[in-house]
Symmetry: C2
Subunit: 311 residues, 2 copies
Amino acid sequence: MKKVKVFAPATIANLGSGYDVLGIAIEKPGDIIVAKKTKAHGLFFSVKTEHSNVPGDAKNNLAAYVATLMMEEFAPAFGIEMMLYKRMPVGSGLGSSAASSVASVVAVNALLPKPLKKIDLLRFAIDGERKATGAPHADNAAPSLLGGVCLIRSYTPLDILQLPIKNSAVWIVVHPHIIVETKLAREILPKEIPLHSAIRQWGNVGGITYGLIRGDAALIGKCTEDIIIEPVRKKLIPAFDNLKNAALQNGASGCSLSGSGPSLFAVTDSVAKAKKIATAMKKTFLSLANIQSESYISCINCEGAKIISAQ
Amino acid sequence: MKKVKVFAPATIANLGSGYDVLGIAIEKPGDIIVAKKTKAHGLFFSVKTEHSNVPGDAKNNLAAYVATLMMEEFAPAFGIEMMLYKRMPVGSGLGSSAASSVASVVAVNALLPKPLKKIDLLRFAIDGERKATGAPHADNAAPSLLGGVCLIRSYTPLDILQLPIKNSAVWIVVHPHIIVETKLAREILPKEIPLHSAIRQWGNVGGITYGLIRGDAALIGKCTEDIIIEPVRKKLIPAFDNLKNAALQNGASGCSLSGSGPSLFAVTDSVAKAKKIATAMKKTFLSLANIQSESYISCINCEGAKIISAQ
């Protein structure tokens, strides 16, 4: 393979109650990387984007960082020219950094003489997350790479379960044009929490796991309830309570922050309701906080990152 | 119906990680209640047991307490003579008090002119748990009543999910002849816990939920890992670490406290292994702590409390 074009999807991490352990891939948006072999050794990296906060240099862009990690480890007899089409801003809550890293490792891997299995690429993408947030999170990187619903059962050692789901719930993501830095969103969280709150949260995690397997939007939505993280982080999102109410009043069974925000996700049982919900949430962002936003509606993307074209 | 004989099974609550939210019913042991109508109004209660710590009077026995609650609410035109065959000691970690309460409410219900559905009996059994422990726990009462795996998603409001399971794992319970008071076992728990511990715990709760549905003993066992409750409560059980090691070295995929102890449970994938595990654990109790114990081996009891005979 000489040249490859890869798509890696955005993700909804946490799903409310499943903070740091649950993530799903969605159909769109996502990042694209085109990579081709060069005779000259090394990585020749560039970015094409309309978003102002995406680092364009190889030193600070995660896609370049993880590509370099792989090239150092596998020392291919060629160089790589890589173009990242960055279609999400950094700090969106859509797993933007993970999608770039995942697209990058899948692209580099495809060019190698002996490509690794997808699952074996995860550690490089997670190294990208460590660089981005200071911690080796997998709840965006794993679903963006592998698709479907990923449950990070354990980080030490890394143990990721892909749940066998009935893909019948419909997911809405609304992305407002504001930025929340993941690092800040982590720093404001409490270090200690009441045991009784934790118990309620893990009851919901059990429930959402079952709900996802059963494809039961009502159960999934109910179990997105998050009494630990959301009450703290929602302060970073203007009009959060109104947005959530708008979603629930228009047929959502649940609504919370996507990742660390500012995007919100909602879940429901039909595309018709999803459209109403998306419209109501966008209107609320605009009317109450004067913030533009866009919305995405999809089922779970069970495929994950994929090669779109190759030659 | 004039007379009824009811069996209510013992239960394993918590399953390690799922503290206060998960419980399963097992085949045996269990309590039996025989109840028959009398012309004289009121409850005529007695207990037959070989265990010394079972209250024999109607005022202090939970089975009588919940029967009285039901009779006050439904005011039947008859009295009830009730005999509890109490086959587990109180404070065993096997859901002993819940099994008595459940047998009682199922028996009283069967005698009523318009019996309620099983699920509608749960509130009476939970009232029994409130009296026993000071808190309205459902993780023993629900599986003893309903059978199978119960996930208490929420206590306020009460929301109980019965998981659709593949019943292929084999469960071992070893009950040592010592008593741990549930109230004490609750009082020693921390009020606050680190967020990072809670995250690890709810990753395991998600994993065990999936493992139970899949009937995967290896996954279930791995996810019984409990880094919050077990490290505190194990101090109440002599030689706990040795017992757990004995289970794991003989083929258990997981081992932890059953309820608040002193019983331990283990889980594995075959009856042959289960027998080896039970023997090893009993030997360890005897050799290291000079404590006699008995063991029970079963799959999950999917039926729950049942009427054995009626006339």
